[in-house]
Structures are given as structure tokens and as C-alpha cells.
């Protein structure tokens, strides 16, 4: 899914789609409506605590076939942080030609 997006869309629309995909994963994992999440939402606003965080990171790893380092996870505070982090890891993965 992410490969198709990366190669078929412009950078901005790719980012929009990536953000939407991250929000869908978070909504499903956290059992909240996706409409309640925006790119500006913080984890605090969404009542995502540290335990929820490890579930979300696990789901994001599965969805995007990436590996999120433990210390990076501890710095995630918002949807924007998460989208940025996932995008960087996807870029690294693509550069390396293998999972990041």
C-alpha cells in the first residue's frame, strides 16, 4: 500500500495520505473514531498514555513494515510527530532497499 502511494503521488499528497493512514491505524488501535483525530492532535488530547503508545507503535510497525526504535517511541507526543517519524523511517527503508 505504502509503495503504491510513494510512487504514484506527489510529495504533498503522499504526506496527506500517509497522515491519513497513520490516523486510521491510531483510531483503530485506540478504539476511537478517526474523525476525532487531526494532524494537530496531541496524544494528551487523545488520551493516549504510554501503554496505549506501545500498542500504537506495534500497529504502525506492522502496517508500514518498519521498525520504530524504543527511544524514538518515547519522543512521540502528537500525530504530527508520529507522521514525521514514520515518513523518515519509510525513507530510510527505501534508501536501504530493505526494512528500516
Amino acid at each position: 500500500m505504502i509503495d503504491r502511494i510513494t510512487y504514484c503521488m506527489s510529495e504533498d499528497s503522499t504526506n496527506d495520505e500517509l497522515a491519513a493512514q497513520v490516523m486510521r491505524v491510531i483510531a483503530a488501535t485506540h478504539h476511537i473514531p478517526v474523525e476525532s483525530i487531526s494532524i494537530d492532535s496531541t496524544f494528551e488530547q487523545l488520551k493516549i498514555d504510554s501503554l496505549d503508545g506501545i500498542n500504537i507503535v506495534f500497529a504502525l510497525e506492522s502496517e508500514f513494515k518498519i521498525s520504530i526504535p524504543d527511544d524514538a517511541m518515547q519522543n512521540l507526543r502528537s500525530i504530527q510527530d508520529t507522521v514525521t517519524g514514520v515518513r523518515e523511517l519509510l525513507a530510510k527503508r527505501d534508501e536501504a532497499g530493505s526494512p528500516a
Binding site: H31, L51, I54, N55, V57, F58, E61
Partner: protein, 395 residues
């Protein structure tokens, strides 16, 4: 009191079936592949997690811990206790469970060993931990006093109840929520029980001829205990009194019981209560339905009670709710308390005939109306660990 098991989702629902002698043992809806050698179980099929927890919570809290929390909610609501800030510090929570959260562990092993996938679900540790039930209760009620879990196989929740009783009696705490829970119907665990060859291939017939073993059950039960003066001062409806607790170890064999260890635990419980054997009217026996347990327990009862053993009513409610392992002691203490309060002894169900090795009045198949002053609840675990609780009316 609070209880959830195959008999029902509340104490009242359980009592309806107990008092009518209606077992909740039925064919397993998941027979296993290949089928388990045993096909009967006391599964809480009418329990639905979503009735009690949100979908998100269910992903974080295992079935055994759900049972603990649901039983605790019922017990606390019935007690009428209001946990103000000082009482929160002076309340203990002690739970018992034999194996804790098996489902998360087994899901992890399936991924790891069957699917060769090393990515284990993130909440496997907090879901699996045996203290998950105690912690959940603590979180729900904001109780910050001594909170821990005892794991002594089938005696776990008797030890929990007994320890909590001693803490309240000693003044270490003002109140306690104590009991246990177990959720055994996970495939790996069922295969392990199958390998032990102690599960009956028909049903559970404690003390009866033709008994072929135990029937596994699941559920949870909790008791709220409170300092006597504290309960009186707030006008609590006191359901009964825990009078004594005794425990012992056989130091004999991992699975073969002795009569000496249970005898000592029963005697110590009576000593602790300041009662004589002749004071006891009713024993809710460990009564698993295995050939060895029931005859050995009978021998232990005769060893302690002598001629009075012939006058005792000795039943096994496991014949109706199955062997709930770590929940058994607390669930059977609840049954004992109900028998005291109602003056009605639930029967030993599925009884087909007297075994000379179990020459006791086991109240076969039909409940009996009889006033009871003192009841004893026995729990004897694999590993030779024995725990006995003595209860009476509030005096």
C-alpha cells in the same frame, strides 16, 4: 460477596442453580482439534466481557482478571463501603490465581513458535501477570493499601481469603477485598490438564461410586471483609463472620494427597477460630471428584472429627460449578456463606451411589434445608498445599 462462574454472573444467579442442584457442566463448544479426551466443562458461556468493559479495556485485561474485577464490583457494591481517602490506605486487596493470564501467553507462543514471528503483542506482559486482577481492582476503587496475589494452585484464593482475614483481625488493615479468579479454557492449558489424566471423561461425581475425575471450571469470587467495629459503626449489613483460618503443607508429593496435611489444616483453622470439631455442621469439601482426593479427604475428616464426621454434611459444589482452580477457595467460601445464610445446603450433584471409602453424608443430588451454625471450606492444592477457612453467622 461477588461471584461469576458457569452457574451465573452474580451471586444471586449462582445461588438459584446451587440451591436447585443444577450443574453448569456441559459439552465444550470448542472440542479441540484433535478433540480433547474430555469434552465437558463448566464454562461461563453467559459471561460477556463487553457487558462489563469497553472494547479497549478488553484488549488490556485478560479473562481471569475480568472475573476478579466483576466479582469485586459486586462484592463492594453489596458491602456499601465508601472508600474515602483514609480507608483507601487501610484496605487490602489479596487475590488468588493458579496460572494468571494464559490467553495472551498462548497467543504469543502461537506467533513465535507456530508462525515463526518474533513480534509478540505489546501488552502480553501486563495481560499475563498473575496480579492483573488485584491491580485492576486497586485501580477501579483507588485502593492504595497492601495489594498482592497469591498463587498456590487450587488453594490460591483460600490462602488469599485467609491472609486477608488475618490482616483485618490483626488490625493491619480496616477492610479487605479478597478472593480469586481463573480462566482455564485456553488450549495449551487444556492440553496440559489432559496430560495429567485427572479430568473426567463424563462428569464430576464427588464422593460417588463411578467418579472419574474433576471437571474444569472458570470464574471469580470475592469477599469484602471489614473490621467488626468499623462495620457496626457504619450500620453495615453483615453477611457472616470468618472465624478461623488454617494452612499446612504435606511435604509428601507433588500430586498425591495425604490425609495428614488436610487434617492439620482443618485442625489449625478450628484452633484459630476457638471452636471444637463438634461445633462444625457443614463442610464444603475440596471434593474434586478424583478417586484419590475424595477418599483421602474423607480419611482426613474422620481423622479430625471422629464420630462427629457421621453427623456432618459434607458436599462438593464443584459438582455444579466445576473445579475453578485458583478461584475455587473463594467461590466455595461464598457457597458456604450462602448455605449458612439460607439454612440450605446445596447438594453434591451427579451422585450415583455410595462409595464405602467416602462414608459421609454428602447430601446427594437434592439440596437440604437444615440450620447451620458453623461451616468449613476446604482447599487442597497440587503441591500439597492446604488451606481451610471457617465461617459462621455474624455473632
Amino acid at each position: 460477596m461477588g461471584a461469576v462462574c458457569a452457574l451465573g454472573n452474580t451471586v444471586e444467579e449462582c445461588w438459584v442453580k446451587l440451591s436447585q442442584g443444577v450443574p453448569a457442566i456441559e459439552p465444550l463448544r470448542n472440542p479441540g482439534n484433535p478433540p480433547y479426551k474430555f469434552q465437558q466443562g463448566a464454562v461461563a458461556y453467559n459471561y460477556h466481557g463487553l457487558d462489563h468493559f469497553s472494547e479497549k479495556e478488553l484488549g488490556m485485561i485478560e479473562r481471569f482478571a475480568q472475573f476478579a474485577a466483576v466479582a469485586a464490583r459486586e462484592a463492594v457494591a453489596q458491602s456499601g463501603l465508601n472508600f474515602h481517602s483514609k480507608l483507601k490506605e487501610k484496605t487490602a486487596i489479596i487475590t488468588g490465581t493458579s496460572v494468571g493470564g494464559q490467553f495472551a501467553e498462548e497467543e504469543g507462543y502461537i506467533r513465535l513458535y507456530r508462525e515463526n514471528n518474533p513480534r509478540i503483542a505489546p501488552l502480553t506482559i501486563p495481560r499475563t501477570m498473575s496480579n492483573a486482577g488485584a491491580s485492576r481492582i486497586s485501580l477501579e476503587f483507588g485502593i492504595v493499601g497492601p495489594t498482592y496475589t497469591i498463587s498456590t494452585a487450587c488453594s490460591s484464593s483460600s490462602h488469599a481469603v485467609g491472609q486477608a482475614f488475618w490482616m483485618v483481625r490483626s488490625g493491619a488493615v480496616t477492610a479487605a477485598i479478597a478472593g480469586g479468579s481463573e480462566a482455564v479454557f485456553a488450549e495449551g492449558l487444556l492440553r496440559a490438564w489432559e496430560a495429567m489424566r485427572v479430568v473426567s471423561v463424563d462428569t464430576c461425581r464427588p464422593f460417588s461410586i463411578g467418579r472419574r475425575g474433576l471437571i474444569l471450571g472458570e470464574g471469580g469470587a470475592m469477599l469484602v471483609m471489614e473490621n467488626w467495629e468499623h462495620a457496626l459503626a457504619r450500620g453495615a449489613r453483615i453477611l457472616g463472620e470468618i472465624r478461623g483460618f488454617g494452612m499446612s503443607s504435606d511435604a509428601h508429593h507433588l500430586t498425591q494427597p495425604t490425609h495428614e496435611g488436610p487434617h492439620r489444616a482443618m485442625r489449625l483453622a478450628l484452633d484459630d477460630a476457638g471452636l471444637a470439631p463438634e461445633d462444625v455442621d457443614y463442610i464444603n469439601a475440596h471434593g474434586t471428584g478424583t478417586p484419590v482426593n475424595d477418599s483421602t479427604e474423607t480419611e482426613a475428616i474422620y481423622g479430625l472429627f471422629k464420630e462427629h464426621a457421621r453427623k456432618l454434611l459434607v458436599t462438593s459444589s464443584k459438582s455444579m460449578h466445576g473445579h475453578t482452580l485458583g478461584a475455587a477457595g473463594a467461590l466455595e467460601a461464598v457457597v458456604s456463606l450462602l448455605a449458612l445464610r439460607h439454612g440450605l445446603v446445596p447438594p453434591t450433584a451427579n451422585f450415583v451411589g455410595h462409595d464405602p471409602a467416602c462414608a459421609l453424608d454428602v447430601v446427594p443430588n437434592q439440596a437440604r434445608h437444615v440450620p447451620i451454625q458453623v461451616a468449613m471450606s476446604n482447599s487442597f492444592a497440587f503441591g500439597g498445599l492446604n488451606a481451610v477457612v471457617v465461617l459462621s453467622h455474624a455473632s
